[in-house]
Amino acid sequence: MNILAPVRRDRVIGELPQGFTKEAALHSRTSFHPKVVGMCQAQRTGTVGRFKISKIIVVGDLSVGKTCLINRFCKDTFDKNYKATIGVDFEMERFEILGVPFSLQLWDTAGQERFKCIASTYYRGAQAIIIVFDVNDVASLDHTRQWLADALKENDPSSVLLFLVGTKKDLSPAAQYILVEKDARKVAKEMQAEYWAVSSLTGENVREFFFRLAALTFEGSVLAELERSSARRIGDIVRIHGDERDLYLTEKRKRTKCCP
């Protein structure tokens, strides 16, 4: 029952999409983790085609362009007068990664102060957080730290993937943008996030960003599942795979440092 329609052909991912910059990427491997590739192959030929789903939340200041970013990718539309989000918007985007169906739940939260108190409800259980700022608005970059801190209260900082995304790149003159990127990459490094700069107006890097997001979230959730199942196999002893835990990290994560 309930056979899913095939995934759109332009939502199929076979290779690991690369980061925006090598330096500010979550990891620098050029292809999917071998274990993930192996597991997906086994799953494709195996009897259980487990369908996977991940929750992504999008946070950031009022009118930095969170909804526009999602609409550009999910509907390929752009309307800069899009109404302010009340509470939260929701989109579901389906992918096929390494032959396995994968869905992203995108929760687009409101930037307004009025809705801050309820946002935590939406934050729970996220696998990735997209923190959005406007590259033309320095204050919005400053505020990303606070947005992250709020979002992390509801999630496990050690397992959630972070993306710092600068929007409205088309409005930023090249010389000015270089300076902003320098600051932004510093912030990204502090929070151990992957940095991206996009334009929802022109579509620059939007698709690339979401593909990277989907691929890394997928990889993360497959690895987490592998770890869980191997822990179960061993029985009562839960072995901690130090190397896998730090898969994305070059140094030990100290989230507390950037989020007081």
Binding site: S54, I86, M92, Q105
Partner: protein, 590 residues
């Protein structure tokens, strides 16, 4: 099949657009126009959300109605106020969830009711909307709060809807109410805006409903589903309840748990509900009364219970006087009550179900006899069924044994409920099949349909003739139960349930006849006919055809029939003199 999503002109996006899935499941040729106005989608699910508080001076009061433009009459508000709070002494400390049903005080038109009617058409009969009633789904919180005068926080969050989807709305309330009580209005605003992003409640499709950070996956049944095959949605992804939950049902209650206090009498209760006998459920709290009433109403599914039923009924209800007056025989209704006062008010009622706290199964219910009505006391009467009713059918010991065994073996409650539901379904089907078969024989023969005469009439229903069919084709063919089936049918034929069932069947069959007639008409050479007849007759024909074109929308005609009809009309008009053409095009109900 197009894999591209339709360009959705900034309408906010159909959340988890169901079109992406099960494309062959939809009904082709009946594309629903996407509702685009704000609150359209919300209204397809909910009428409004109310917050009912308790004011020390005023008593219950509706504090908030959201969206603000929703209309409720004063009478409706009063009903909602009283029905949203428990009215018994039991206390209900903590959180209590229950549901009620109340009469709408005036009929109002929804802005796009046609669209909702279309959705309604594909629903099983027992889930179809009743235009005269609303449901209220309540999450009531009563906790100690020293900062408040009298030391208690008492408030209800209430969803008002036309849809009888108790499990869905209870789940929604469980998601939003606890946090609403802490975060207040922005939370309510956001939750309502989530609902306004839901896809339409289309039967038969898998719907993804985002609410406050999680996605509920649901499927509303259709009238085409085979009865008894609950299409359970499988949770296809990792069981992460923080992200998504798949609801196994939108409307069903936990049948076994509800009936466990009166376990030995289920078959008698089935008869009482089937016959539309006046029934009252006296329970310690509204959550037990409402669940039990809904369980009773659903036990005759796929038959619809046509009389009024109130999962939770209070002395303040507008219908209180009508329903409890001693001067008339008790009405054919099922009431769920908690106020001990009712034990006195409804003393004269023929059948009373008294339940204590519904316990989680684990105990084996002991054999209990039906209790005599005179033993019913106002307070602390023992749980059980108080009646002098003698069932028509012999008791089925097997189902009792099967369920008892299940209790001993610690079979999960869901499995017990499925067994019980299947038992009721088979019983109801055994009962109704002979009626269905007889009613089908009332249909005139296909050959009696002539395009040039009005559609033939159904033969009238004759009780005696129907009774005669029972000898050879009675329920004994499908049920091993013995007893006075004839007596049961005789009683049933006098009930509201039969009346409602037969009216629905008759309407369907009449429409079928009209559809067949229309198809036959469209297969004729109408232009040729009109050329052989006078102008007056032709004009008359065109007007009649035009009337059929407007009424035909509701008929179950073969695809293409209406297009054919339109072509006939156009070609006849075109063959007329020019002045007449103009008049004919304009006249009629186009």
């Amino acid at each position: 099949m197009s894999l591209q999503k339709p360009a959705d002109g900034g309408s906010g996006g159909l959340a988890g657009s169901p079109e992406a899935e099960e494309p062959e499941d939809g009904s082709p040729g009946r594309c629903l126009p996407p509702p685009v106005l704000p609150w359209d989608r919300f209204s397809a699910w909910l009428h409004c959300v109310c917050v009912v508080g308790f004011d020390l001076e005023l008593g219950q009061a509706v504090e908030v109605i959201y969206p603000q433009h929703s209309k409720l009459t004063d009478k409706e508000k009063t009903n909602i106020c009283y029905l949203s709070f428990p009215d018994s002494n039991s206390g209900c400390l903590g959180n209590t969830q229950f549901c009620f049903r109340f009469r709408q005080s005036s009929s109002r038109k929804l802005s796009w009711h046609c669209l909702l009617d279309q959705l309604d058409r594909d629903l099983p009969i027992y889930l179809k909307k009743d235009p005269a009633y609303f449901y209220g789904y309540v999450y009531f919180r009563q906790v100690q709060d020293k900062t408040l005068k009298r030391g208690y926080f008492q408030k209800s969050l209430v969803l008002i809807s036309k849809l009888p989807y108790i499990h869905l709305f209870n789940t929604v309330l469980g998601q939003i109410a606890p946090e609403y009580f802490e975060k207040n209005e922005p939370f309510l605003e956001a939750a309502c805006s989530d609902v306004d992003r839901w896809p339409l409640p289309v039967p038969g499709k898998t719907l993804y409903l985002p609410i406050m950070g999680i996605v509920m996956k649901v499927r509303i049944p259709t009238c085409h589903d085979k009865p008894g095959t609950t299409q359970v949605l499988q949770s296809m992804h990792q069981a992460d309840s923080q992200i998504s939950i798949a609801l196994p049902t939108v409307y069903e209650v936990d049948l076994f748990r509800c009936f466990s206090p009166v376990f030995f009498h289920i078959q008698m209760l089935w008869e009482l509900v089937l016959l539309g006998e006046p029934l009252v459920v006296m329970a310690p709290s509204p959550s037990e009364s409402s669940e039990t009433v809904l369980a009773l109403v659903s036990c005759i599914s796929p038959l619809k219970y046509y009389s009024d039923f109130r999962p939770y009924f209070t002395i303040h209800d507008s219908e209180f006087k009508d329903y409890t007056t001693r001067t008339q025989t008790p009405p054919s209704v099922i009431l769920g009550v908690t106020n001990p006062f009712f034990a006195k008010t409804l003393q004269h009622w023929p059948h009373i179900i008294r339940i204590g706290d519904i316990k989680v199964s684990g105990e084996v219910p002991k054999q209990v006899k039906v209790k005599k009505l005179k033993n019913l006391k106002t307070l602390d009467s023992k749980p059980g069924v108080y009646t002098s009713y003698k069932p028509y059918l012999n008791k089925d010991e097997e189902i009792i044994k099967q369920l008892q065994k299940g209790v001993q073996q610690k079979r999960p409650a869901e499995a017990q409920s499925i067994i019980l539901r299947r038992y009721f379904l088979e019983l109801t089907q055994s009962f109704i099949i002979p009626l269905e078969r007889y009613v089908a024989s009332l249909m005139p023969l296909q050959k009696s349909i002539s395009p040039w005469k009005s559609p033939p009439q159904l033969k009238p229903f004759s009780k005696e003739e129907f009774m005669k069919t029972l000898e050879k084709a009675g329920p004994q063919l499908t049920s091993r139960l013995k007893g006075d089936w004839i007596g049961l049918y005789r009683h049933f034929l006098k009930s509201y349930n039969f009346d409602g069932w037969f009216r629905t069947r008759r309407k369907e069959m009449t429409q079928k006849l009209e559809a067949l007639h229309l198809e036959a008409l469209c297969n004729e050479d109408l232009l040729f006919w009109s050329q052989k007849h006078t102008e007056v007759e032709t004009v008359d024909l065109v007007l009649k055809l035009k009337a059929k074109l407007t009424n035909g929308e509701k008929l179950p005609v073969k695809p293409g029939t209406m297009e054919k009809l339109k072509k006939h009309i156009d070609s006849i008009i075109l063959a007329q003199p020019e002045d007449l053409q103009g008049i004919l095009t304009k006249t009629g109900s186009m």
